[in-house]
């Protein structure tokens, strides 16, 4: 198990270097001058050139990449071109907000999805099953930004039950409950699609497993259907479900860009979008590096949890 873990961790390094290089290349090859965008139309050509030199943007691209990556390794993620602020604290605080939103949504999606999937499998070919299937199709098909606006309108504007935007109340605010209160709508909007997918995967995986001989054996021993499903079937059905949950993390981060925009959630998604529009290389590169690192780390955790759930996958 230890050898497996070490191998997996070592594999992360080339992945991260590859990601940073690709992002760096894409950002620098895209047309548009960050200095022109930052300084606005009133800046003279002389000022533009001076600032390009100050920011090191006049150096060859490979030199810029090596200089950036070596500074990152030394803990200096640079300053944002547009915001003139240190990248690391800014990106980390924004990333923490996105992680809170994303993991809450993934948790809700997993809980709801697995529950609904088991219920659908348990009540297969009944009206309940059909209802869950219908809801899953709706949840999967509904665009995040549209669903978010609808939730915002109904629960925020019409009913006034929940805040329409932000992470804390405008005046005062800031406690844990205040944040939970503000999390409900964005989490619901973001969780809908992964929940639907997890529910579908749980249902089909469960249905597949319950065809197996050992389930028939369990039943023939006189175990209740509940014990058969939850104890014997679910654990064996769990590997594909875990894979889907792990993969949904990527979706949750991508989808959070829309949800953050609609609910003014101060996450890294908004920061990246603005960073791309302003060609703010350090912000975009820093954010992607952080997201990619956490993504590969989560994938590692998923793989490790496979090994836990299914001992034959421990490779060693």
């Amino acid at each position: 198990m230890t050898g497996y873990l070490v191998r997996r961790i070592l594999w992360l390094l080339p992945v991260l270097v590859g990601v940073t290089f690709l992002v760096f290349l894409t950002m620098h090859l895209a047309p548009g001058d960050p200095v022109k965008i930052m300084l606005g139309p009133r800046a003279t050509e002389e000022t533009l050139n001076r600032v390009r030199t100050e920011l090191g943007l006049d150096r060859p691209m490979p030199v810029q990449y090596v200089s950036w990556i070596s500074r990152v390794l030394a803990g200096d993620w640079g300053r944002s071109i547009q915001l003139r602020r240190r990248v690391l604290p800014l990106v980390s605080s924004r990333f923490a907000s996105t992680a809170l939103l994303g993991f809450s949504a993934l948790f809700l999606a997993s809980l709801g999805g697995i529950g609904a999937g088991i219920a659908a499998a348990f009540k297969r070919h009944t009206a309940w099953d059909r209802m869950f299937t219908f809801l899953a199709i709706v949840g999967f098909s509904i665009p995040v930004f549209w669903f978010g606006l609808i939730l915002q309108f109904i629960f925020g504007v019409r009913l006034g039950w929940l805040p329409t935007s932000g992470m804390i109340a405008s005046i005062g605010g800031g406690g844990a409950w205040d944040m939970v209160y503000h999390l409900i709508l964005p989490v619901a909007a973001l969780a809908a699609e992964p929940m639907a997918l997890i529910a579908r995967m749980t249902r089909s995986s469960m249905l597949e497993v319950i065809q197996e001989d050992y389930i028939r054996t369990a039943r023939s021993k006189g175990l209740t259907e509940k014990v058969v499903l939850l104890k014997h079937a679910l654990r064996n059905a769990f590997v594909p479900i875990l894979t889907v949950i792990g993969m949904q993390l990527g979706f949750v981060f991508a989808g959070s860009v829309f949800v953050e925009a609609i609910f003014s959630w101060p996450g890294v998604g908004n920061l990246i979008v603005n960073g791309i529009l302003a060609r703010d290389f350090p912000i975009v590169q820093g954010s992607i590096l952080l997201i990619a690192s956490s993504y590969v780390l989560i994938n590692l955790l998923v793989d490790v949890s496979y090994a836990y759930v299914t001992p034959q996958l421990r490779y060693d």
Partner: protein, 521 residues
């Protein structure tokens, strides 16, 4: 009702009051269109930053609220030499920065030289895109005593006093710069009626009333700016009572909000113009008649009503109407497709022609660029002109249109401009003088009329206001005759606020929002 039930009901009511729409006394929550990028006044280039920073900082001169007239700010008075090259300023005494240090003449020199002198110890604490534009005419600054200083200018520059009222001429506490260095962008310390409390990135910027303010103190205790990028979400926050004031609602909702008794809608004309640049150096727009023809071909009123939903005013002149010297005594291009066809025929294009038309997908001040371009394309097609639209992302677009020579630019492209200092020089000279072709300036139409150039040049150095006005009016008339652009509209800045909010003032220069005198009815 039992006693316990009564207590429970009161608690519930209090809870609803606390979590609902109740407004704490003296606190105003403003929803901005985006998060400020910085709160260092010397580094601001976008509206949202200027709006959040405006209450924190002050300048030597300032604009009379709601107008483009100049009045004393941190300078009580000033004297200009007869040749217009020397200005002596007498500063207000007893002004304190928010950190408690006194504001003196040395601080003026410190702040200006920080932006213009590469040898200044704090020059490397920022990037100053407006410095050359705002302060570039200053040759030297002499501090006579703590409250007197003299500016020597390199050349006569009548809008100088207006430039001194702009954000980049505002004063940051030198001690705070020493303390925070480049992080001054998130630790603003000025002399304004509000002082900075906190900035939670992506969440809010909180300002408190400055209790040591030298002038009349602000009426509000606290002023909070919240960035809500999505216009629909901004409106939802207002309707749910989470914010009290919002900037620019979705155009489709404006009429509904005007009829909603819970809100007041104010539409104010900024100093903005939206236009199509006609490339005057290449065929077919090197011919004045063709430029006039396409100008007549576009139904501006229909675009303003149908696409902009009345959030703009039809432009009859390139210059924004709120700028002094603005005139409507010039050639007016009312929608007239027949006139357009006749002019095209006279110019030798009876069957029209085909041109390229570049359009950004979005952009500061660009309103609804793609929809507007599509409408204009259809109007031009009706008179036989085929305009082939190419759209570009804003950053790419700026790169493509600012800089290349005339022969590398398309025949038509979209542009807009928001003026800074309220002086016609800030618009007519830099955008339409033949001396301001890129890269010297922003005359992207590569328009040149020697008479216009002479008038604009003379007006730049003329010290007599009446003579300047005459020169600018004449220039506007000649420009309208030449039609180097199709000027389409001047955008309104629309503000929606809760009913009962009084005392808000819109400052057309730099689009500043003034909340110092806001009271709740």
């Amino acid at each position: 009702m039992c006693k316990r039930c009564t207590v429970l009901s009161i608690c519930l009511m209090l809870l609803v009051g606390l979590t609902g729409t109740c407004l704490a006394a003296g606190t105003l929550v403003v929803a901005l269109e985006a998060e400020p990028t910085s709160l260092d006044p010397h580094q601001l280039t976008d509206y949202n930053s200027v709006r959040a920073a405006a209450a924190l900082f002050e300048t030597l001169t300032k604009f009379r609220p709601g107008t483009t007239e100049i009045m004393p700010g941190l300078a009580e008075s000033w004297v200009m030499s007869e040749d217009g090259l020397k200005y002596t300023f007498y500063l207000r005494q007893g002004v304190l920065f928010h950190d408690g240090t006194a504001f003196t003449a040395d601080d003026v020199r410190f702040n200006f030289e920080r932006q213009t002198d590469p040898n200044h110890p704090y020059y490397d604490t920022g990037v100053f895109g407006y410095a050359e534009f705002t302060l570039g005419m200053i040759d030297s600054i002499e501090v006579v005593d703590d409250y007197t200083l003299v500016f020597d200018l390199k050349y006569t520059f009548p809008p100088f006093l207006r430039n001194l009222a702009m954000a980049s001429a505002a004063f940051v506490s030198p001690e705070s710069l020493e303390q925070y260095g480049a992080d001054i962008v998130i630790h603003p310390v000025g002399t304004g009626p509000f002082q900075f409390r906190e900035w939670e990135p992506g969440v809010r910027v909180v300002l408190d009333r400055n209790v040591t303010y030298w002038g009349e103190p602000a009426t509000l205790d606290t002023l909070i700016f919240r960035p809500i990028i999505n216009p629909q979400s901004r409106l939802a926050a207002l309707e749910a009572g989470e914010v009290d004031f919002m900037v620019n609602p979705p155009p489709d909702d404006v009429v509904r909000l005007q009829n909603d008794p819970r809100f007041n809608v104010e539409a104010e004309l900024g100093q903005h113009t939206w236009w199509i640049v006609l490339n005057c150096q290449v065929e077919p727009f090197d011919n004045k008649l063709v430029r006039q023809a396409v100008h007549y071909a576009v139904d501006k009123e229909a675009i303003v009503d149908g696409i902009l939903r009345g959030t703009g005013e039809v432009a009859v002149n390139a210059l924004p109407p709120s700028v002094w010297s603005y005139t409507e005594d010039l050639k007016i291009y009312d929608y007239n497709p027949q006139m357009a066809r006749d002019l095209l025929a006279t110019a030798g294009y009876p069957d029209g022609f085909e041109v390229d038309f570049w359009v950004p997908e979005s952009g500061s001040g660009m309103q609804q660029p793609v929809e507007m371009a599509t409408a204009i394309q259809a109007y031009l097609a009706a008179v036989g002109v085929t305009a082939n639209i190419s759209t570009w992302e804003w950053g790419t677009y700026l790169d493509k249109v600012f800089g290349p020579p005339a022969n590398e630019l398309p025949a038509m492209h979209e542009m807009s401009w928001i003026m800074d200092n309220g002086d016609p020089d800030n618009f007519l000279y830099i955008l339409l003088s033949g001396e301001q072709w890129p890269l010297d300036g922003f005359n992207e139409a590569f328009y040149q009329n020697e008479e216009v150039d002479r008038l604009l040049r003379e007006a730049r150095i003329e010290l007599d206001a009446t003579t300047r006005e005459t020169l600018y009016i004449e220039a506007q008339q000649l420009i309208a005759e030449d039609s180097p652009w199709i000027w389409v509209d001047h955008a309104y800045e629309t503000f929606v606020m809760r009913e009962g909010i009084q005392g808000f003032v819109f400052q057309p220069t730099q689009g500043i929002l003034r909340f110092e005198r806001v009271v709740f009815e």
